[in-house]
Structures are given as C-alpha cells and as structure tokens.
C-alpha cells in the first residue's frame, strides 16, 4: 500500500501523544490539583478551599509528592542486609564472590565451647564500589546471615566511602531482598514496606517456640 504508510505512522504517534506517559518520575512526582488533593487525602474542592496556598502551587505545577519506586521484592540492591547473630564467620560469601571484594577477619568467640563455639567477626567489609550485585555471596551464605538489600540510593562523591563496614551494615535498616530467600516470599514479606529486625525471622525456618527448644535441647538430653 504505497502512499498510506506515512499517514498511518502519523496516527500511531498521535495515539501515543494522547496516551498518558509511561515515565516514572523520581525522586518526586509533579502533580496537579487532583493529585495534590489525593495525596492530602481530601476531595479536590475541599482541598481548594482549605489549603489555598498549596492549591495554587499545585495548579502552577510546582506541587510534588514523593514517589515510592515499585520494584520486585527480589530486587538486588546495594546496602546489603546483614544479621551478625546469624553469621558464623565461615567466609563462604568471601570465597564465592567473583571479585573478592568481601573482607572478613574473625577471632574465636568468648563463648564456652560447651554451649556451641562460634567465631566473632572482627572485620566485615564489602567494597560496594566494585560490587556487581550478582548475589553469589547471598546464595553461598549457609545460615541466611547475609541478604541482598533493597536500597539503591547510595551514591557517594568519594570511592572510599563506598566500602560498607560491619557497623554500617548492622546499623542499616533491615530490609532484606527476597533474592534467593524463598522464605520471605512465602511469608509475603514486602521489603519496601516493612523490616525484619529480629534475626530469628530471617532464617529458612520459623523460629521454634520456647517449648520446642526446651524439648529439643533440654529434655532430650
């Protein structure tokens, strides 16, 4: 059909012109009056009279609302989530890292060998500046101590600041990604909304009840 191809192309672009844009704005979204009212939880007319200043701002296109970026819960972000209490300092993560950017140093723990010997972490540094977020370290962790994080806003002006230390890791909010952690998906855990602060809940199994523990460890002996 010679001659009709170009007009059809024009119609397609026009169709896309009237379609709402697919762009996701970040870090905040510019909204009009309706959006601002929705954000404030009022109906637009109410909003217009109740908060005239904000309304004018919204009509002028200056009102913004923060955007929650929708991502899969398996998203492999930086800012690893780490549960020190689960870590045995086995250094599997460091061994499996293709780039060798995890640095671990450990000392024997002060706990009596009778109660279960464990090693204590001295150093646990991840050089995020070279990390490629393949997740092999998380896959290698046998005790679910290390998880991928879900944060992605970790830009720094200095390369050295990109090394996360043990303290930083521990202080960071515990929003583990569901990457290689099917237990989080089974629990329908949403890392973008909630946190897992108790290390017991981050494992492959539910934390056993006190009775169960007593039965297993005290009564059986």
């Amino acid at each position: 059909m010679i001659g009709l191809g170009l007009p059809r192309g024009f119609l397609i672009t026009l169709k896309n012109f009237v379609r709402p844009p697919v762009t996701e704005q970040y870090p905040d979204r510019h909204v009009g009056l309706l959006g601002a009212a929705k954000e404030a939880g009022m109906n637009p007319v109410h909003f217009l009279f109740k908060r005239p200043g904000d309304s004018i701002k919204a009509i002028a296109g200056l009102a913004t609302v923060p955007v929650a970026v929708t991502q899969s819960s398996r998203f492999r972000g930086n800012e690893f989530t780490f549960y020190e209490d689960r870590c045995t300092a086995c250094a599997s993560c460091a061994k499996y890292c293709p780039l060798g950017i995890i640095e671990i140093a450990s000392v024997p723990g002060q706990i009596d060998a009778q109660e279960g010997e464990s090693y204590k972490l001295e150093v646990f540094d991840i050089d995020i500046g070279r990390c490629m977020f393949c997740g092999l370290c998380v896959e290698a962790c046998p005790y679910d101590a290390l998880h991928m994080g879900t944060d992605f806003e970790r830009s720094k002006y200095v390369r050295d600041e990109l090394v996360i230390t043990k303290e930083e890791l521990f202080a960071a909010p515990k929003r583990p990604s569901a990457f290689y952690r099917p237990q989080f998906e089974e629990k329908r855990f949403d890392p973008f909304q909630e946190t897992i602060d108790d290390y017991h809940n981050a494992g492959r199994h539910e934390r056993p009840s006190d009775e169960e523990l007593k039965r297993k460890w005290v009564d059986e002996r």
């Binding site: 009709l4 170009l6 398996r74 490629m132 990457f179």
Partner: protein
C-alpha cells in the same frame, strides 16, 4: 568527460552517537559514496575470556552477563549449556522451561533494541526507539521479578535456574505477552509500511547468500537472505524439539529484510513462550547440591555448546583440566563474526546508509570485544 573528485578520509568514532558502543571506523568517501572502510575495534575489551580462567564455573555466569549486555539471559543459557555438556549435568525440567522462557523474552527484548536503534540510525529522532524501549522495560520488569536484576541477570545456574519464578510472575507474563504483540503491531503499522523506511532500507547493503554462508554469518542476518538456518530448529537444545514454531525468512538480504526478520522473530518468540507456559511442569528448578555442587569439577576434556542467540549462533567452548575453573574459555560471538562483512556491505554504498547498515547487523560492542 567527468568531473574528477578526490576521496576524503574521515574518522568516525569511537565516540560517535551511532556506533552502538565504542567502535571506530576510518571511512574513505568520494562525495557521499563510501570507497573504503577500515573497522577498528577493541575499545571495549575487558578480557572476559581470560578472566574466566580465574573463576569457578558458577562465577563465570556473571561474566557472561556482561558480554552481550542486551541479551544476558541468552549468554547465560549458552554458557550453562556448555558447562552442562562439559560436566555431564542433567538439568531439572522446570529449570529448563524457565530458562527457555527467559531466553525467548530476552530475544524479544534484544530484537526490540535492534529494531529501535536501527530506526534511530535512520534518523527517526528517538520516537520508535523509545517505543521499543518502552516494551523492553516491561520485559526487564519480568526479569526483575524472576531474578532481581534487569540487565545483568545471572539467572541461570548449571542444571537450571537459581530460583523458581514467583507467583505474580505468571499473570504478569501473560499480560506482558499481550502487550508485546500489541506493540509489535503498532511498530509494524508505524514503520513497516512507512515509505521512508522502505526507500532507505530496501535494496541497500545487499549480501549474496554464498558470501554469508562462507563468512559463517548466522542469525537474522543469514535468515534475511533466505537460508533456513536456526539452531533452535536445526540442532534443538533444551526443549526446543518439543516446540513448534515458524522460522521467518526473507530473501532480499538487504537492510529491510534484516529488520523484517527481527520483527517477525520477536512475534514468533511470543508463540514459543506461550507453548512453554503450556508445557511447563512443576518440580525443582535445579538439581540438588548433592548432584551438582556449588564447586563443579568437570572431568578433563572440552565441550562446545551453541544456541541461537538474538544475533546469531552464540557458542561457548570450554576446556577443563579437572579443576574448579576452566582451563580455557572461548566465545563464538556472533556480533564479531557478523561484523566481518562490514566492508562488503558498506563499500559502494552511500554515507547516509553507513550507520543504518551498521545498525542492521545488530552489533553489541560488548560481545565484539568481550
């Protein structure tokens, strides 16, 4: 009597908007006609093959992601097939179906990128590029659901994939496939009948079949010349022998034929994925660690496995000396081999067609230089 002119040599790249990465060409022009082309590459060389000799078999998966970074899933697939062949691993069926779905999605994404950039090179100021990138984003969203990453997936492991697809993946995939079909329809309405695209691409950079076969060109470039050569059909790997699909061929072997074959193949991939969804069976997605440990030590020997990648035959050749890392890895990257006919395609053509032809090869400099 004719006016004598003097050819001019112009250096294009490595920093040029249309070189699909960092590629350099020393081009000799006579007016608008190309007299000579000298491709210079290696600006993106990262030594992946050498790096692989220092990595375990699982770790190398992350390197393959970065070779052809617009079709990492297919790279993973080719590499994993080679590892499985080398170590004699029997993959889990569900893992295989999942990696076929992922691979076909990646093929669609890659073809969309190729088409979009070809039209960008045609000078369509980004509109078709953004339309195809918009659809690619949906596919990348699916990848994020599967494996948590959009581009450098590292989804596959020897014997299958590392994790089963989440529950919300399947309805999203259904919706996504419908969207893809609709968007390909749009793209075809927009451009396949467009007279400017016709006149720019038809009859330019025609390559004869014999030359293509002799230069061991594969993929859409070869099929655009009428050679029915698709490894999914000719040498089925994974479960492609249980899938029936049409091979899309064109005989013109020009830029338009290459564009057409890609668009049709993307459409056909949707069919393949639908068949995979119908046939997928429950079960583990990878063998247990007793069968396939994390540290694979394949017996001494070598193996070559190839798949029909988005750009042609993508093969991995692995040599093992019995250790935890391959003794040698070689990649048969279709981008590099398809590039070998660049001179034949360009010389005698117009300068305006240079980057269109270049784009119609569908190169990825990450794969060319590795």
């Amino acid at each position: 009597m004719a006016v004598k002119t003097q050819p001019v040599t112009v250096n294009l790249g490595p920093q040029h908007p249309s070189t699909h990465g960092v590629f350099r060409m020393r081009v000799m022009f006579d007016g608008e006609e190309i007299v000579d082309v000298e491709p210079v590459f290696g600006y993106l060389h990262r030594g992946s093959e050498k790096l692989a000799e220092e990595r375990t078999y699982t770790q190398i998966v992350t390197l393959t992601d970065r070779m052809d970074y617009v079709s990492s899933m297919l790279n993973n697939q080719a590499y994993i097939l080679a590892v499985e062949k080398l170590a004699g691993i029997e993959p889990s069926p569900r893992g295989v179906w999942l990696r076929m779905i992922a691979g076909e999605l990646q093929r669609i994404a890659s073809h969309l990128v190729a088409t979009g950039f070809l039209l960008q090179d045609l000078g369509a100021l980004g509109t078709p590029l953004i339309y195809s990138m918009r659809e690619r984003e949906n596919i990348l969203d699916l990848f994020e659901m599967l494996c948590g990453a959009r581009i450098t997936n590292s989804y596959l492991r020897p014997g299958g994939v590392f994790m089963d697809a989440p529950g919300e993946f399947w309805p999203a995939l259904d919706r996504g496939l419908d969207d893809i079909v609709r968007s390909i329809d749009d793209l075809e309405t927009y451009l396949s009948g467009n007279e400017i695209v016709f006149s720019r691409t038809k009859g330019t950079a025609v390559l004869p079949q014999e030359l293509l076969i002799n230069a061991s060109i594969t993929g859409p470039m070869l099929r655009a010349s009428g050679v029915d050569w698709d490894l999914r059909h000719r040498a089925p790997y994974d479960y492609y022998d249980r899938i029936s699909f049409e091979r899309k061929l064109h005989t013109a072997s020009d830029n338009y034929a290459r564009y057409w074959v890609r668009v049709q193949e993307a459409r056909e991939s949707v069919n393949i994925i639908r068949q995979c969804i119908d046939q997928i069976e429950p079960g583990p997605v990878r063998p247990s660690f007793d069968d396939v440990p994390r540290l694979i030590r394949p017996p001494s020997g070598d193996a070559y496995a190839a798949i029909e990648g988005s750009k042609g035959e993508l093969g991995f050749y692995l040599v093992s000396d019995g250790g935890i890392a391959p003794y040698r890895m070689h990649v048969r990257s279709s981008s590099l081999i398809n590039l070998t006919l660049l001179r034949d395609m360009l010389i005698g053509g117009q300068f305006g067609d240079l980057f269109v032809t270049f784009g119609s090869v569908d190169l990825n400099m990450g794969e060319v230089d590795r």
